[in-house]
């Protein structure tokens, strides 16, 4: 499958999930409402995790977004429409991203259902997954971009060839 087909597939999945969310009976107060005592602050006593259908739709909504970004990065890293060495960093990075995202979502399901929540690094566990995992895991892809820059992005020789091509074009 070409990366562009993967992009289209993820987009269609996202549209289907949005339609699904519009059809399924909504969870009340799941998007915040004004604090009873303090103006300007919102609170939320509910979450879509409380309903079986919406919680899975929410999970797949996130997966489709990650897939979309992964396919797009992969598409952008090709040369002459062929994959490069950067590809392996991209897919390791995306797999790691999916893992920490899933860990965050699943721990949030427990966070919602339990009375008390454990803390890690000064914040609730699912929030810690978000801060220490989701935020920083994409550094893997950045590392690959730097390491494979010459082979997968552009080399000095390619720049020189490009410049001479432009000069030839001007002469023509």
């Amino acid at each position: 499958m070409k990366a562009i087909h993967g992009v289209l597939l993820c987009l269609i999945a996202l549209l289907c999930i949005i339609v699904g969310l519009a059809i399924v009976p909504p969870v009340q107060y799941a998007t915040g409402f004004p604090h009873p005592e303090i103006k300007g602050i919102l609170i939320s006593k509910a979450n879509i995790d409380q309903q079986e259908t919406t919680k899975w739709l929410g999970y797949f909504f996130g997966l489709a977004i990650i897939g979309l970004m992964g396919f797009l990065i992969s598409h952008g890293s090709r040369k002459q429409e062929k994959p490069t060495k950067l590809g392996r960093y991209i897919w390791i990075g995306i797999m790691a991203y999916v893992s920490v995202y899933s860990a965050m979502v699943f721990s949030h399901w427990s966070y919602v259902s339990e009375d008390g929540g454990a803390f890690f690094g000064g914040m609730p566990i699912p929030t810690a997954w978000m801060i220490f995992g989701v935020w920083f895991v994409p550094l893997i892809i950045m590392f690959g971009f730097i390491k494979e820059f010459e082979s997968s992005v552009i080399s000095d020789k390619e720049v020189a060839d490009f410049k001479s091509f432009l000069q030839d074009q001007k002469k023509d």
Binding site: G58, I65, L68, G122, M130, W135, V153, V159
Partner: protein, 493 residues
């Protein structure tokens, strides 16, 4: 020092504003053509480019609107920040090399110019320019509003000139912005970005340390206060919930590659291979600077919930109130100055692309040639600033919300056509035109009719999904377009 807190802050801001005027005059001498005015003559080094990329991304939207959103919604808006590294990866893998290569193909002064080169279609250039103008007015309004709110709060805290109104503060700040932009163009902007970026990294780290020490038990106590009031607020989805937060993940992760004021910076660096160094420097700069966004917002929410601070009259006051009451006076002064720098340089970046669209791209799109482009550019800059100020005064929305709307307009119109279209030979001009029109119409209709999508999915994210789907589907269903020889060479690299 504490007794003179307001005076110190006031002096720092005045010194910064004078510096801006100085940079404007210095840059005036280096601005000899429209290419210098809009593209900095493709002469920027790695550090200047990298700092310009990350600081333009953050701006007043991040430093004033960001803490306001966290104060109001809890963790939800963290998604605009935590997606940053992924977002930079998307931008650089798709555009870091490609846009810079396209910039070599001609003496271009704007993104629609390059779009015309890619698609060879004047309608695409015209539509892209229109999308940029619409997004610029909204986004520029956030910068002008942020600047006026901060200036008003500083002046009123010191009570040097009686109680200053928001409109008066806006007139003062816009006057300086106009002088700085009209004289210096993009050169003034990118060099202040460099100074501002450095200030923001240091200041954000110091502010975050201050945040931690505001409570006896640091982050744990702060988060516990929020948790006790509403556990969802401190969970990863905040009060907006999972779907709305994830729509921001999409909009800010993918949409970053569609922000013309940011991606045009990728056309200004000196060497094509600089992208290798610009990416990590931009990412690190952004990560450190974002500490200010998340730290202040959570801290102010916890302070208000615990009764240690009066409720804010507007969430947008979170940053200025924190700095005035809890930060060391000198740190507050430096951050306020840095804040002005951030807003000013981003506003200048918007003025630059907006002006180019109005006086260069739209006339080119309809076949009109403008003479004396540099002078016309300067007059257009003044008109655009006034237009944005009027919009800001009358919008009545939170800074971050106007910012998110404009971000969405840019993302939905630019991502398919530029970010993907510059990497995909099958993309056709017709698909590009339809994608831009659909994204603008649907986005503006949703906003105008105040329609709520399921679970408050961001309108920008929805239109981005839609415009990308239409763009790819239409291109796949059409015959492959014939490409210019130079364009084909660049797209093969």
């Amino acid at each position: 020092m504490e007794a003179n807190r307001n005076l110190i802050i006031f002096i720092c801001v005045i010194v910064y504003m004078l510096l801006c005027i100085g940079v404007g005059i210095w840059a005036l001498r280096r601005t000899k053509s429209t290419h210098d005015f809009f593209m900095a003559g493709k002469s920027l080094g790695v550090w200047v480019s990298a700092f310009a990329v990350f600081s333009t991304t953050l701006s007043g939207f991040g430093f004033v609107g960001g803490p306001g959103l966290v104060y109001s919604m809890g963790m939800s808006s963290f998604w605009m920040v935590v997606v940053a590294i992924m977002g930079f990866n998307v931008s650089f893998s798709l555009l870091g090399k490609r846009l810079r290569l396209f910039a070599e193909l001609g003496n271009y002064v704007s993104l629609p110019d390059v779009v015309y080169k890619r698609y060879g279609n004047n309608t695409t250039r015209l539509l892209m320019a229109l999308a940029i103008v619409i997004g610029v007015v909204g986004y520029l309004a956030t910068q002008v509003l942020a600047m006026a709110i901060v200036l008003r709060d500083i002046l009123n805290a010191g009570d040097y000139f009686g109680q200053v109104s928001l409109v008066t503060a806006m007139i003062i700040s816009c006057s300086i912005l106009i002088f700085y932009s009209v004289t210096g163009g993009i050169i003034a902007s990118v060099y202040t970005d460099m100074v501002q970026g450095a200030i923001m990294i240091v200041a954000a780290v110091l502010v975050f340390i201050t945040v931690i020490f505001t409570f006896d038990n640091g982050l744990m106590e702060m988060n516990q206060i929020i948790y006790q009031d509403d556990r969802q607020a401190i969970g990863p989805w905040g009060t907006l919930g999972m779907i709305g937060s994830l729509s921001w993940l999409l909009l800010f992760g993918l949409g970053g590659a569609g922000q013309p004021h940011v991606i045009t910076k990728l056309m200004m660096n000196k060497r094509i291979s600089d992208a290798k160094k610009i990416l990590p420097v931009s990412v690190m700069g952004y990560v450190f600077s974002a500490l200010l966004w998340i730290g202040i917002g959570l801290c102010m929410r916890a302070l208000v919930l615990s009764g240690m601070h009066e409720p804010l009259t507007s969430p947008d006051q979170a940053a200025s109130q924190f700095l005035q009451y809890y930060a060391h006076p000198l740190l507050a002064g430096i951050v306020f100055a840095g804040l002005f720098a951030a807003i000013m340089s981003t506003a200048e970046a918007f003025l630059s692309i907006g002006t180019a669209a109005i006086m260069h791209d739209i006339p080119q799109g309809i076949g009109v040639k403008v003479s004396g482009e540099l002078s016309v550019a300067r007059i257009t800059t003044v008109v655009l600033t006034i237009l944005a100020a009027v919009f800001a005064v009358n919008s009545g929305s939170l800074i971050a919300m106007i910012g998110a709307m404009s971000w969405g307009i840019f993302a939905a119109a630019v991502v398919p056509v530029v970010t993907l279209g510059f990497n995909w030979k099958r993309a056709t001009p017709l698909a590009a035109n339809v994608a831009i029109v659909v994204s603008l119409v649907i986005h503006l209709v949703i906003k105008a009719m105040s329609w709520n999508l399921p679970y408050r999915i961001d309108a920008g994210a929805f239109t981005l999904i839609l415009s990308l789907t239409i763009f790819i589907s239409m291109s796949l269903l059409s015959a492959p377009p014939r490409l210019d020889k130079e364009v084909e060479y660049v797209m093969d690299m």
